[in-house]
């Protein structure tokens, strides 16, 4: 019998070894995948019962905080400013996870960030609150002005400090109240979630960095910069013929100027009046390869590395898409056809021109401090892409000054301050237009770059980017420049 008993021992040994292997699998090799599993609310619950730091604006307004409540979760997340900062803070929801800064800086807020932990190692026995507070680069005053500028129209306002990439305002409409998703009453949360998702205005969508639109003529800044950088055009040559429409190759449908006007001339002139026929010709002259490469230099087809989750990349087609479709290249050069950009990306285009051709990494975090207000981390500005050489950036800047001083962007003029800008009115093909304005100021030493975008405005002369979007940009720039 002993040999059978020995065999039994071996069999049991093998079975237990299988258990050992499976435990290693579950607790080490698959642990990350299981922990990140979308239906795993374990981490959220842990975060929920843990203390959590506050999120505040640059001007000291608390926009997310945890208050102690008498239920299983012990702490309730509150958003005192409601809708105003919803697309920046995001939400911290037991049922639906977290979004926005609540998501990207979760480890800092909960104190699980290694930087916080290491710093506080000595405090473990003292039961100190190890959470950290996040201060943002946005200020409430500017955010409010940007939001007020939209005045209940669907759209976005992005304001950036071009020197550092710091986001100064990130406003859009419609928004939502994150308090409704942070509630501990799960039925209420589910109802609110369902209602927000059913809303045709898509209030949960942070349009500023997660939605793409035709940039329209505001994209001509990119085309002009690429033309200068590639030597296809200079400030005086060529002189584009004055036309009302341009017949494109392989096509019988002509490309027309806005409102049926006729225009032409050298680069500064055609940018000032936003001449479609000339820029379409310029795009074709640059060619698919160089146009795509130059656009990608501005960060297109890459997700901007902003510290907010799930950003969208802006799109410019691959050059191969134009091989048998030259008209598409011509239309892309004026920001139509297959070009799509987020308001953030267009703000970055303006910021890049403003910052000598270098686009800085956009960010909303200014600094992280622990509960004793000691500095844990300060955001260090870093360049993202080098869009164009400085001399090209300066030339484009000068032309953009002309747009505001004596062109389509006159509504953005600020007394005593040189403003550089570009309008855009992109036809959606549905009888409406997305109206844009991108700008920066003061033009000689820029401290703020802005992109304003209003969705689906009526296609008529009084509803252009210059008429609708430029005044909002002006107000935001004035406020930003007045701030310390």
């Amino acid at each position: 019998m002993n040999s059978q008993i020995r065999t039994l021992g071996i069999v049991l040994m093998v079975l237990f070894s299988a258990l050992f292997v499976q435990l290693n699998n579950l607790q080490i090799f698959s642990a990350g995948r299981l922990n990140d599993h979308p239906i795993n609310t374990r981490t959220v619950v842990r975060d929920f019962t843990e203390p959590r730091g506050t999120i505040q604006t640059k001007d000291g307004v608390v926009i997310a905080e945890s208050v102690e409540v008498d239920d299983d979760f012990e702490r309730l997340r509150r958003y005192p400013e409601g809708e105003l900062f919803a697309h920046i803070t995001g939400y911290f929801s037991f049922t639906f996870g977290n979004e926005g800064v609540e998501r990207t800086y979760n480890d800092a807020l909960t104190g699980r960030d290694r930087k916080v932990t290491l710093d506080r190692l000595g405090d473990i026995l003292l039961e100190k609150d190890k959470t950290a507070n996040v201060t943002l680069t946005v200020s409430k005053s500017l955010q409010q002005i940007a939001t007020d500028g939209l005045a209940g129209r669907k759209g976005s306002v992005v304001a950036i400090d071009p020197r550092s990439g710091a986001i100064l305002a990130l406003a859009d409409y419609p928004s939502y109240d994150p308090n409704t998703l942070a509630s501990h009453n799960q039925d209420e949360v589910r109802q609110a979630w369902a209602a927000l998702n059913a809303d045709e205005g898509r209030p949960l969508l942070p349009r500023t960095y997660r939605e793409r639109y035709f940039p329209g003529s505001s994209f001509k800044v990119v085309t002009a910069a690429v033309a200068l950088a590639t030597g296809v055009a200079s400030l005086s040559q060529p002189v584009y013929p004055t036309l009302t429409e341009l017949v494109l190759p392989q096509s019988s449908e002509p490309l027309r100027n806005f409102g049926g006007s006729s225009c032409g001339g050298p680069l500064p002139e055609i940018l000032r009046v936003s001449c479609n026929t000339a820029f379409a010709q310029m795009g074709m002259d640059i060619g698919a390869q160089r146009m795509a490469a130059g656009t990608n230099q501005f960060g297109f087809n890459k997700v901007p590395p902003i510290d907010l989750p799930f950003g969208a990349e802006s799109a410019f087609p691959d050059p191969s898409a134009f091989v048998r479709n030259i008209p598409a290249l011509a239309k892309s050069a004026i920001g139509q056809q297959d070009v799509a950009a987020t308001p953030l990306q267009m703000a970055l285009v303006a910021a890049g021109i403003a910052n000598n051709g270098v686009i800085m990494v956009p960010h909303v975090m200014a600094e992280v401090r622990d509960s004793r207000a000691e500095l844990i981390e300060q955001y260090q500005p870093k360049p993202w892409v080098e869009a164009v050489p400085p001399e090209v950036a300066h030339a484009v800047r000068d032309m953009m000054i002309g747009v505001v001083a004596a062109g389509s962007g006159a509504n953005a003029q600020i007394p005593g301050v040189a403003v550089a800008g570009k309008t855009g009115t992109a036809q959606t093909g549905l009888g409406t237009s997305h109206t844009w304005f991108i700008s920066f100021a003061p033009a000689e030493a820029p401290r703020v770059a802005v992109a304003v975008m209003l969705e689906n405005q009526p296609s008529a002369n009084e509803f252009t980017g210059g008429a609708l979007a430029a005044p909002i940009a002006r107000d935001v720039m004035v406020a930003a420049l007045a701030a310390p």
Binding site: M1, I5, L15, A18, L34
Partner: protein
């Protein structure tokens, strides 16, 4: 006897290990309390006195009643029991008092078994009484009025306020019966008259016992809806049959019958199909049927290598965590280090049990020790593998660890019997050595 150096070493080893187990348990209890509320539990000192008192009482009983027994098993069981208690107290404070009571009763049953069974061979006489008793226990939940269905399985018997799972004890009683029956019949059962294609086959009439055991397994499965016990019961019988006859063909026949039973179960029962479906793809039913196993997997993953620390995880999210899923809670709060330690404790117990079986001379004791160890090994594997999704989940308890009186008491009885067999062998060895000594004296 007390002066026997082997005996003295064994008991000293046991005492040392018991103290170690006591320290680990007390430390774990304190940490769990600190982890939950950052304060020391008020009942800490009396509780520690009780734990240590129980361990010492069990040790003293072994010293007195089975001085030559294996020194590993009791401390390992004590350790598992203690860890189990810490987790029950941490997960279900309302059940902690009961679990303490069950532990007292379990140790009591352990001492009583040692006292009532002074020599293993004493119980062999009662084999048919035990068989009837075991079958009676097994079928008891099916009796109307006293039988109770809990969580879809009819495993419970209720007399007034007291309810218990007779199946837990019946396994042990039946193993005693199997051992004595198989020892008597093993020569008959290992004789074969048929040779088919060079393969040895038993006589048809000797297949009776297997068919009987199989039928019982099916009864447990069909009427009590207890897959785990059914599998354990049948696997146990086949293992013992094979060990006693040394005929591998019984494993083949057993496997075949198991396959038939499994197919029968799969085709006739929704709950069996559900169990298998959950095992294959719990994610498809993550919100209802698969919820428990998935939460268990999440708990293991959350624990990682070192665990979330006692009292700091959230294993309460797993349904029935204190009974079926204690191991997942251990995985979350003690991490891989903790789960492997528990795994190691079971493996050591199985090793110690099989060593007792190898050393025992009388076939009955050998087979009984094998059977009892097999219960421990197979049962712990079935539930551990179920919880870790290695095999479909069946709701049986993790010996010594899970919450539950029937399980704890039965396992202590099992432990006492193993120690008894071990002590018998030491006793025989000592006698043989003594006889040799006197012979040598005579020659001189």
């Amino acid at each position: 006897m007390d002066r026997d150096p082997v005996v003295a070493v064994r008991r000293t080893t046991e005492l040392g290990l018991m103290v170690l187990a006591g320290v680990v348990i007390a430390g774990a209890y304190v940490l769990a309390a600190l982890g939950r509320s950052s304060s020391l539990p008020a009942n800490l000192v009396p509780l520690l006195v009780i734990i240590l008192g129980l361990l010492v009482a069990a040790h003293m009983a072994v010293r007195k009643l089975a001085p030559g027994a294996d020194p590993l098993l009791l401390p390992l069981a004590g350790l598992l029991n203690g860890i189990g208690y810490v987790f029950v107290a941490r997960l279900r404070p309302d059940l902690a008092g009961f679990q303490a009571l069950w532990t007292v009763l379990g140790i009591g049953a352990f001492i009583a078994t040692l006292a009532l069974v002074p020599r293993t061979r004493n119980i062999e006489r009662f084999r048919y009484t035990l068989a009837l008793f075991g079958i009676g226990l097994l079928l008891m939940p099916l009796v109307p009025v006293i039988g109770q269905t809990i969580n879809g399985s009819r495993l419970w018997v209720k007399f007034g306020p007291v309810s218990f799972q007779p199946g837990e004890l019946s396994k042990i009683v039946l193993v005693v019966f199997f051992a004595s029956y198989l020892v008597e019949k093993r020569e008959l059962l290992s004789m074969g008259t048929h040779q088919v294609a060079g393969m040895w086959l038993p006589e048809i009439r000797h297949l009776g016992p297997i068919v009987l055991a199989w039928s019982f397994s099916l009864i447990i499965m069909f009427f009590e809806k207890d897959l785990g016990s059914s599998l354990l019961f049948f696997a146990l019988f086949i293992t013992m049959l094979w060990v006693s006859t040394a005929r591998g063909v019984y494993l083949g026949i057993g496997g075949l019958m198991f396959a038939v039973g499994a197919v029968l179960a799969y085709t006739s029962f929704d709950h069996v199909r559900t169990r298998v479906a959950i095992w294959l793809d719990p994610w498809a039913v993550s919100n209802d049927a698969g919820y428990q196993i998935i939460q268990g997997l999440f708990a293991f993953a959350a624990g990682g290598i070192a665990g979330a620390n006692l009292g700091q995880g959230s294993p309460q999210r797993i349904p029935a965590v204190a009974t079926d899923f204690t191991f997942a809670a251990i995985g979350e709060e003690l991490g891989l280090l903790g789960t492997v330690a528990v795994l190691g404790a079971f493996l050591l117990m199985v090793g110690a049990g099989l060593r007792i079986a190898m050393r025992a001379e009388p076939p009955f004791e050998k087979l009984l020790a094998t059977g009892l160890t097999a219960i421990l090994g197979i049962q712990s594997f079935i539930i551990l593998a179920g919880v870790t999704r290695l095999v479909p989940l069946t709701g049986i308890t993790l010996p010594f660890v899970s919450y539950g009186g029937s399980s704890l008491i039965s396992n202590y009885v099992l432990l006492a019997l193993l120690l008894r067999i071990s002590d018998d062998q030491a006793h025989r060895a000592a006698q043989a050595a003594g006889a040799q000594d006197s012979t040598q004296l005579g020659i001189r």
